[in-house]
C-alpha cells in the first residue's frame, strides 16, 4: 500500500508541477491582452462522466482556472452513461463521453476533444509483421498458443492483458467483440509503461497499449514494434485522422448549444493550447 500511495503522490506532484507552470505561463497573459475577458468570465462549471476523460478534463480545467481566476471547474467521474444522463437532466453543465455518440443521443451537442487509440505491440525481434483480427482474437482466447501458427518462430505466446477497469481494455474488448472472462492471459498489467516493459523484456509476448505511449517508447529505442490493425498502420497520425480502427473519439457534451462560460471552456478544450495536456495523458489531439 505504501508504494501504491507513493506513486499516487508522485502523480500529484507531477500535476502540481504542470499546474504551477501553467499558472506561471498565464500570469503575463491575464495581466495583458486578455484582462477584459478575464473579468467577464465568472461562475462554476460542473463536468461529470467518463473516467477515461476525467483526468484530462481536470487538467484542462486547472489551466482554464489559471486563465480566468473567477471560474471554478468541478470534474467528477462516473462513466460515459452518467455523463450523458447528467448533461440531459441538467445535473452537470457538461458531460464527458469516451465513445462515439449513439443514434438516440443526437439531442445533445457533442464536441470531440481528442482521440484514444490502442494498438497491439510485439518485441522488435519477433518475425511476425501483422496479425489479422481473427488471429488476435484466437491468441487472446487461447486458441492459438504458439507463434508458429501465425508464421513466427516455434515458441509459446505470452499473452499480456490489462487489469479490469482500464479504458484500453474496454477499447480492445469492444473492437474485437470479446469478453474479459474469455481472455486467457499469462500476464496482467496496469499502466501502459508496464506493458511496454513486459513486452520489451519477452521476445514471445504480445500486449496492447495506448498508441501514444507505444509510439513514444519505440521512437526512444525500446525494442517493441506496433502492429497495424486492418491494414492501417498504428500511429498517432492515423488515430488523429480517425482512420485507425482500434480507437475512439472522446467527447464532451451539453444539453443545449453552449453559451457563455460553457462555450468558452469547450472552445478552450478544443484549442491548440491544450494539445500538450492531451499528449501527456497519452491521447491524440485531433487533426485540423
Amino acid at each position: 500500500m505504501n508504494q501504491c500511495s507513493l506513486s499516487f503522490m508522485l502523480k500529484k506532484y507531477a500535476a502540481l508541477v504542470v499546474l504551477s507552470t501553467a499558472v506561471l505561463m498565464c500570469i503575463p497573459v491575464s495581466a495583458g491582452a486578455q484582462k477584459p475577458a478575464a473579468d467577464q468570465l465568472t461562475g462554476k462549471l460542473v463536468i461529470t462522466g467518463a473516467s477515461t476523460l476525467a483526468p484530462l478534463i481536470a487538467e484542462i480545467g486547472k489551466r482554464f482556472e489559471g486563465l480566468y481566476p473567477a471560474v471554478r471547474i468541478d470534474v467528477q467521474s462516473g462513466g460515459s452513461s452518467r455523463g450523458v444522463a447528467d448533461a440531459r437532466q441538467g445535473l452537470a453543465d457538461i458531460g464527458m463521453v469516451s465513445r462515439a455518440m449513439k443514434e438516440d443521443e443526437q439531442d445533445l451537442s457533442a464536441f470531440p476533444v481528442a482521440r484514444d487509440g490502442v494498438c497491439p505491440i510485439l518485441h522488435q525481434e519477433n518475425p511476425v509483421q501483422a496479425l489479422t483480427d481473427e488471429q488476435v482474437v484466437a491468441i487472446y482466447t487461447g486458441k492459438i498458443t504458439n507463434w508458429k501458427a501465425v508464421g513466427g518462430t516455434d515458441a509459446p505466446i505470452t499473452v499480456v492483458n490489462k487489469a479490469e477497469g482500464r479504458s484500453t481494455l474496454e477499447v480492445f474488448l469492444h473492437y474485437f467483440k470479446l469478453k474479459n472472462v474469455d481472455i486467457k492471459a499469462q500476464v496482467v498489467i496496469g499502466e501502459n509503461e508496464q506493458g511496454v516493459k513486459t513486452v520489451a523484456g519477452n521476445r514471445n509476448a504480445i500486449g496492447y497499449v495506448s498508441i501514444g505511449t507505444a509510439e513514444y517508447d519505440a521512437a526512444h529505442g525500446v525494442p517493441i514494434k506496433l502492429l497495424p490493425i486492418g491494414g492501417v498502420a498504428a500511429s498517432t497520425e492515423s488515430v488523429g485522422k480517425g482512420i485507425f480502427p482500434l480507437s475512439r473519439p472522446l467527447h464532451i457534451v451539453t444539453r443545449t448549444p453552449p453559451v457563455g462560460l460553457a462555450k468558452a471552456f469547450i472552445e478552450y478544450a478544443q484549442s491548440k493550447a491544450v494539445h500538450d495536456l492531451i499528449r501527456q495523458q497519452y491521447f491524440v489531439p485531433l487533426a485540423d
Binding site: 505504501n2 508504494q3 477497469g165 496482467v188 523484456g201
Partner: protein, 260 residues
C-alpha cells in the same frame, strides 16, 4: 489503527451487502465488471508467495547473522552489516524493476512465460532478507557473553556453541524477526505487482503467474467504481484479517513455547 479498520469496513460494506460474503469465495472467477468476485485464488497467491519467501529468507538471514557475529573478522563483519542495512533501505519499486528487466527474462528462458510465483518468491525473499538478518544479528548480540565463554570453557566447538547455547538463548528475538519479515512479505505490493504476472488464478506450479491481494488493490483501485471499488476494500479487509491472524498465532506460540 482502529480508524483504519472502521474506514475499511465502511467502504467494504456496500459490496458485502450487495454481493454477500459467501460469493467472495464461491464465484467462478474475479471479473468485477461482469459481476464475479472470487477472492480465493488471490488469497492462495498471497499465501504461497509469503510462505515461499519466508522459507527462503529465514535460514539465509539467520545464517548471515551467525556469519557476521561469530565467523567473520571484525572489519568484514562491519562492512557486511552496512551492506545489509543498505539493502533494507532500497525502495521496493527498484527491486521490482530489477526483477522485471533481469529476473523475469531469465526465468522466462527456463520456463515461459517468466512472470510467475517463483519470480515473486525470489524478489520478496531478497526484500525481506535484510529484516530477518538485522533482527537476528541484534538478538545474537544480546546473548550474554558469559554463556559463550562458558561454552568455550567446556571445550565446545564454535558450531556446537552456536547451535546448543546461542540459538536457544536468542530464540525469542529470532522469532520476532520471522514475524516481522512475514508481515512485510504479506504487505509487499509494488515489486510483486511488477514480477508476478497478476493473472487471477490458483497456481499449480512455481512457474504459474499469480496475483496477490495487495497487487489486486493497487492494479484496479485507480479505475474502480461502485461495487468493484467496494470489493477491493473487501480485499483490504481480508488482508487485514490475515495479518491479525498472523499476530494472534505468533502471540499464542510465543506464550506457549518460548517465554513459558
Amino acid at each position: 489503527m482502529l480508524l483504519i479498520v472502521v474506514f475499511l469496513v465502511m467502504e467494504a460494506l456496500p459490496a458485502l451487502r450487495h454481493v454477500g460474503v459467501a460469493r467472495f469465495f464461491t464465484d467462478p472467477s474475479w471479473h468485477p465488471a461482469e459481476g464475479f468476485y472470487n477472492l480465493t485464488p488471490m488469497l492462495w497467491g498471497t499465501l504461497f508467495a509469503m510462505v515461499g519467501s519466508v522459507l527462503i529468507a529465514t535460514p539465509l538471514g539467520i545464517l548471515s547473522a551467525v556469519f557476521c557475529r561469530f565467523y567473520a573478522p571484525p572489519a568484514v563483519a562491519q562492512l557486511y552489516r552496512k551492506l545489509i542495512e543498505l539493502l533494507a533501505g532500497i525502495p521496493s519499486v527498484v527491486y521490482g524493476f530489477w526483477g522485471l528487466v533481469v529476473l523475469v527474462p531469465l526465468i522466462g528462458a527456463i520456463h515461459p512465460p517468466g512472470p510467475s510465483l517463483l519470480t515473486g518468491i525470489i524478489i520478496v525473499a531478497i526484500m525481506i532478507l535484510p529484516t530477518i538478518a538485522l533482527m537476528a544479528d541484534a538478538s545474537l548480540t544480546n546473548v550474554p557473553q558469559q554463556y559463550v565463554r562458558g561454552a568455550a570453557a567446556l571445550g565446545l566447538s564454535r558450531w556446537a556453541t552456536i547451535r546448543g547455547v546461542v540459538f536457544p538463548a536468542a530464540k525469542s528475538g529470532l522469532f520476532t524477526g520471522v514475524i516481522l519479515e512475514t508481515g512485510r512479505a504479506i504487505g509487499e505490493t509494488m515489486a510483486i505487482l511488477m514480477v508476478c504476472g497478476n493473472v487471477v488464478q490458483t497456481p499449480h506450479s512455481l512457474f504459474d503467474p499469480i496475483r496477490t491481494l495487495t497487487a489486486n488493490i493497487a492494479l484496479e483501485m485507480a479505475y474502480a467504481l461502485g461495487d468493484h471499488r467496494a470489493a477491493l476494500f473487501v480485499s483490504g479487509l481480508v488482508l487485514m484479517g490475515m495479518i491479525a491472524a498472523l499476530v494472534a498465532a505468533a502471540d499464542w506460540i510465543s506464550h506457549g513455547r518460548i517465554y513459558g
